[in-house]
Symmetry: C2
Subunit: 268 residues, 2 copies
């Protein structure tokens, strides 16, 4: 099959998305890629594949917190390989927790063993780079994510290396945020469309505490389930950085930078 574009811009690279971690985070990333693509007819949109195989991939936090020895990186790598073999040359994974090196390194080893021309775009690196641009003079960055993401210091180490100060809430509040994400009776993973008011309220309360009690200058949503529930770009006069949205823009940039909208082109 020959890729055939109807205008004369360079041929875009095909974006592959490792979905299913969770499913709604995959769909949220697809939506944000479409939203940030400069397009007035179907053919302007970028080539993209979403492979959502949630049943293949064991729980990431359980592995990172030592509750199981089954490393989900092996199966995630299998999905990356499948995407690359189907033609993806740029790959993104909308799950912060799965970017922990103990998982991601195993997955990328399998991807790169294919020898195919493919680039992985990290949500952590993309988000931290974006926060650096927002806060050129440093700042206190309020971090929200799963307990496993926070305990493995994925964002904290990267933010500190970039000269920023990561700030997290106390254990009790972090456990509440975790429940808002994954509790099977009201969490975002179980109730995404619409999100339950209880889950959204917990997430907003956590954001408010980061601003009011911890005096952060920016809030970083470092779990891809959170922006499914919290879509505000600013809360209590504090900018909110949605890592999924940053990843969407980086994937467009890696596929075909000419098609990336400027912020003023985004409506609503």
């Amino acid at each position: 099959m020959i890729q055939r574009f109807f205008d004369h811009s360079p041929e875009p690279r095909t974006i592959g998305i490792v979905g299913g971690l969770g499913p709604y985070a995959g769909y949220d990333l697809v939506r944000k890629i479409f939203r940030w693509t400069r397009a007035s007819v179907d053919q302007d949109h970028l080539p993209l594949m979403l492979h959502s195989f949630p049943g293949w991939i064991p729980e990431r936090p359980a592995f990172l917190l030592g509750q199981t020895k089954e490393n989900p990186g092996e199966d995630i790598g299998g999905i990356m390989e499948q995407l690359a073999r189907s033609g993806a040359t740029v790959i993104g994974m909308p799950c912060n927790t799965a970017h922990s090196p103990r998982i991601l390194d195993v997955a990328l080893e399998r991807l790169y063993a294919t020898g195919l021309d493919v680039r992985f775009v990290s949500i952590i690196e993309s988000a931290v780079q974006h926060v650096c641009q927002l806060c050129p003079n440093g700042g206190r960055i309020g971090l929200m994510g799963t307990v496993a993401t926070l305990q493995t210091r994925l964002y904290q180490d990267a933010l500190e290396k970039a000269g920023l100060e990561p700030v997290i809430l106390g254990d009790e509040d972090c456990a509440l945020v975790q429940r808002a994400i994954s509790d099977p009776t009201f969490g975002v993973k179980a109730f995404s469309d619409p999100v339950s008011p209880a889950a959204r309220q917990i997430l907003l309360d956590a954001a408010r505490r980061l601003v009011e009690e911890k005096k952060v200058s920016t809030i970083l949503l470092g779990c891809t389930e959170i922006p499914v529930a919290v879509t505000e770009t600013s809360l209590w006069d504090t900018p909110v950085v949605d890592a999924t949205s940053v990843l969407a823009r980086e994937l467009i940039r890696a596929s075909c930078p000419e098609r990336l909208k400027a912020p003023f082109e985004i409506q609503g």
Copy 2:
């Protein structure tokens, strides 16, 4: 890679979605599949692939209306083949116009030539079957779609065969609906997230005329761009059937019927 589910329900079949026709219709179908799947943890969701290659596929209406000889069925069949070779065993295509036999037959010939075990689920057959269940004693079904879908009588013939009476608006109103779908300055294909107020207003006006002037008993949204703009399940006390949502349910039923939610389980 071994598909491994953590409960004891039968192994679901993998759903493949031909996206890009347009991109937002593909994403809307994914959303509706997730929404209608009985799931409380990630692993409960069904295996699914969305392949969105809008740049590969020439305009469908232009071919059907005789403005070009380039049959998009060839490239659509290529995407179906790619999905099947990646493991999809149930395939759906959220684009009514592309279900015209002159396009679909060419695509399915290529798919079935692979010899793989794969089933195509038609949006037209699914929607007409659903309308029949809604209207067991017959009825006037107000049809909204692209000019090409209406001119090729895709739905009219199927509805008449099922004992229902298809009703469409006059040429001028149909041309307006077409513009609400595809006009590059305000149509749903160019402005999907959010949809422009102008496009939504045209679509609502057309629905109102079908109810008030044509006295239809049901409105059938027979273009997958329309439910991106019109999400109501009822308008002017008349049920609205969204063909994308019906296709989502049929794909779940074909993949793993136990996971299909009953309507009372759908919130919001």
